[in-house]
Symmetry: C2
Subunit: 508 residues, 2 copies
């Protein structure tokens, strides 16, 4: 029936047995990441080059992220809408910087029909169904949205427009990596329109603060907030604000950006409004987004050689209960006790799974839920039943203790909060230990090459210097930190004067 | 600055003034629908042919639908995942019926790069970046998903797979209509895999029942559940179950379908599993979906010449409060009273908006919220304040009454439930009045042409007869109702014997 059926089946069995065998981080960090994404059932590559399948467990984490972000957007007055997947090719040419940045590596629709192959081999493009103007699959939606806003905005009373879209976008990346860089990815893109420059800048900053709050409070991932240098700015923006996180291998990961677009898109798409004085002005714009890339950040920020470590606030399963038994009567007695505990946990808003699958041994289950990053594991055997206890294991520290089963729900609720905080603290310490100052070019190169992490250094502000530093060290300016201080100094590369330090790093 | 600025601005003002002036249903039902979608700010056509922009108010209704459907899917054991937007062209050719139904009218990606036009006019396709195999934008995802399932399914222990996806899909429709038929639309598509035929059929039926419950309990829209005839079956299905609703113009609207796919896709994509007896078998499949088309159904099922009528369970704003005042002191006093009412309504889970915008007159606001279908309007003026009353208007019947402001929250909560039921009852009466039996061909033609609605008639079961009836009357078999009774009769068209009646209608 199936070709290579035996072989496949063998590989699969092997895979299952090896479920726990991740490459260690010290051995090969990239391979560890890939192993983890695949073995924890988060995502996999699809039959389409560069496009991933987000598997149910991975998608459940993304849904938790979406739900919280969506709530935060709505709490700050934003509404959702939906704009077309397709963008007429000519729209890109309207904003000069934007076309350079986005219109090149993209998926282009040229035809709208297939027909039976005259040679009888499947289907082929129908040459009669060529589009008059090619359509680009959106790599980002500024152009189609601002083309739409032209008809929505006439007066200052129509402003601000505070609109967000949850969507898929496509950028034809040549080298892809699950979650971190894929041809298609999921994201949200906010596109707001304002009557003044000040209000638009205020919105840009409000959103970068919102992203930072989400990263720190929900993902337990500390970030540096800052502004991008010109080289790293969004194509079409006046200023790009960013949150930058540090991964365990010392590389930085840009986790969210918020752009002040000035009047660039309003000018490109002819979007004017009548202000309170009755004068016509171009509208001011922002755009901002986070994507499924955050999944990659979440995985790399906290996980270890045993598997995922998930912050409880984003864990699809917060508590797993595993029965330890030999005889079926023992399982029945344990299950009866578990049936008392589960409603109490649920009443506290805790997501709990009872794994009484008889096909798997407890050891297999322990390893499996460690791999999946379930924050708390409760194990209960006949002795626990007799003693009125339960074994509580926390994923972040791998510590175990035996505790009275009475009030275990209250204990677990507090423990989940502690785990959330502990994961953040650990990542924060790591991040803070890995921000180092460099005052000379030699020192800079040594830090970047040997230590990694963020290097705080003076830079002369020129794009050329930045480019040269990148060529020699692969490090880029991640941001000019918002909380940085004025400090007179000399550019580590050119020796030219500088008024503040910026953060460099090798980045994902 | 902007060309035609004056003209546009004039049109816009005119539009605003005319906000209430919908074409009446009796005058031109299609135009009424289009007017309503545009003027209630639900959606509009975009710059891309056949693609719509779903505006924030329309999207808010869709989000409410999504949230409830998603909950119902999860409550029945389904999980969400995400599969690629692109499908390799060759995948379509694997399932013979499927390729005929879907691979033809679709958007085809042929290139992955644009470059600067050598003539300096914008960007053009880079001929060097032609894809080896063209990619089709998914019109539905059976092929890419079953290609993926091949690697996920080995044993009966891997089954069932109960997976849903929320996604955008593209079908290159030649004649489009906002929400009802658009080139790109949003939907959910469930794709499940089972170890037995019986279990797959059970899933198919479970989902059509779920869709019917959603339509009736949430959309307040009665539906007929049934099975499709061969002509109307999903391309690649063994059986298609459907829910069919009746619109106010007497046309039917297919509102959701659930397909039993047999082993067709498992065979096409070589998906086998080892059953409990250790024997390899092909996997059994279902797929099912509802789309933004439901928005069109919701609008057409209930709305009237004043605008939208929304069932409270799906209304983004359930209650609007409008102050009636001349002096600002009056507004202040009313606002103080409203500030007491709002928290009480919110505590009951009611979504409420207080519109104290001073730029608009109460009459304008009344018309606006009627247009937007807000189920309950509370109006309060100085006399109400003095009397301790409030005017309560319900959108469905347009009835008004003055009630004590005390306990108004409790009253409104009950009223919202009543409105939900009343809208359903009204649609149900209309639907039931518009199911008519025909026993002769003349009677059939007369009913379809003069009355519309569903016509219940005997049919000989042949695709040819169905096709002939369609050619002569435009009516199609909407379904063979699940609750239909066995009844010997003769086909209205051919006179051949028939064992049960089927429902015909002209459909959207």
């Amino acid at each position: 029936m199936r070709k290579n059926q035996l072989n496949k089946s063998k590989i699969y069995t092997k895979d299952k047995e090896m479920a726990k065998e991740l490459t260690s981080r010290s051995e090969n960090y990239s391979q560890w990441y890939l192993d983890l994404v695949l073995k924890a059932d988060l995502a996999e590559n699809s039959a389409v080059r560069g496009c991933m399948v987000i598997k149910p467990y991975g998608y459940a984490i993304w849904e938790k992220m979406q739900a919280q972000l969506d709530k935060m957007f709505k709490d700050t007055g934003h509404v959702n809408a939906y704009f077309p997947l397709f963008i007429p090719k000519s729209f890109f040419s309207r904003e000069a910087a934007h076309v350079e940045g986005f219109a090149k590596e993209c998926a282009v629709v040229t035809h709208y029909r297939l027909k039976n192959d005259p040679d009888g081999k499947g289907v082929v493009i129908d040459p009669d169904a060529r589009l008059e103007e090619e359509l680009v699959i959106r790599p980002t939606s500024e152009t189609i949205i601002w083309n739409t806003y032209r008809n929505w905005i006439q007066s200052h009373r129509d402003l601000p427009l505070l609109i967000n879209q949850w969507a898929n976008v496509v950028r034809w990346e040549m080298r892809t990596r699950l979650f971190l860089r894929t041809a298609e990815f999921l994201w949200q893109e906010g596109h707001t329109a304002h009557s003044t420059r000040e209000e638009a800048i205020e919105e840009t900053v409000k959103i970068i603060n919102l992203y930072a709050e989400f990263a720190e409070k929900w993902m337990a991932m500390p970030v540096v907030k800052g502004v991008k240098s010109e080289n790293e700015r969004f194509a079409g923006a006046v200023d790009t604000y960013t949150i930058e996180a540090l991964m365990q291998d010392g590389k930085a990961l840009q986790s969210g950006t918020s752009h002040f677009l000035g009047q660039n898109f309003a000018k490109a798409f002819d979007v004017l409004f009548t202000n309170k004085e009755g004068v016509q002005e171009y509208v001011w714009a922002t755009s901002w987004g986070v994507s499924t890339r955050l999944m990659g950040a979440l995985i790399m920020a906290h996980s270890d050689d045993n598997g995922l470590v998930l912050p409880p606030k984003l864990a699809p399963i917060q508590v797993v209960i595993v029965p330890i038994y030999k005889k079926m009567e023992e399982l029945a007695a344990i299950s009866a006790k578990v049936d008392e505990i589960i409603p109490k946990l649920k009443a506290r808003g805790i997501t709990v799974k009872y794994d009484d699958n008889d096909n798997r041994k407890p050891g297999w289950k322990f390893a499996e839920y460690e791999l999946k990053g379930v924050p708390v594991r409760l194990a209960m055997g006949p002795r626990d039943l007799a003693n009125g206890t339960v074994e509580v294991a926390r994923r972040d520290t791998l510590e175990k203790q035996n505790l009275p089963v009475e009030n275990i729900d209250e204990y677990v609720e507090i423990l989940l909060g502690e785990i959330q905080e502990n994961i953040f603290r650990k990542a924060l310490s790591f991040r803070d230990e890995n921000i180092r100052k460099a005052d000379t070019w030699e020192e800079f190169k040594q830090l970047i090459n040997e230590k990694g992490g963020f290097v705080s250094a003076h830079w002369d502000g020129s794009a050329e210097t930045e480019q040269r530093i990148k060529e020699e060290t692969k490090a880029t300016i991640r941001c000019i930190p918002l909380d940085g201080e004025e400090e007179a100094g000399q550019c580590i590369f050119s020796g030219n004067p500088s008024s503040r330090r910026v953060l460099f790093a090798v980045a994902y």
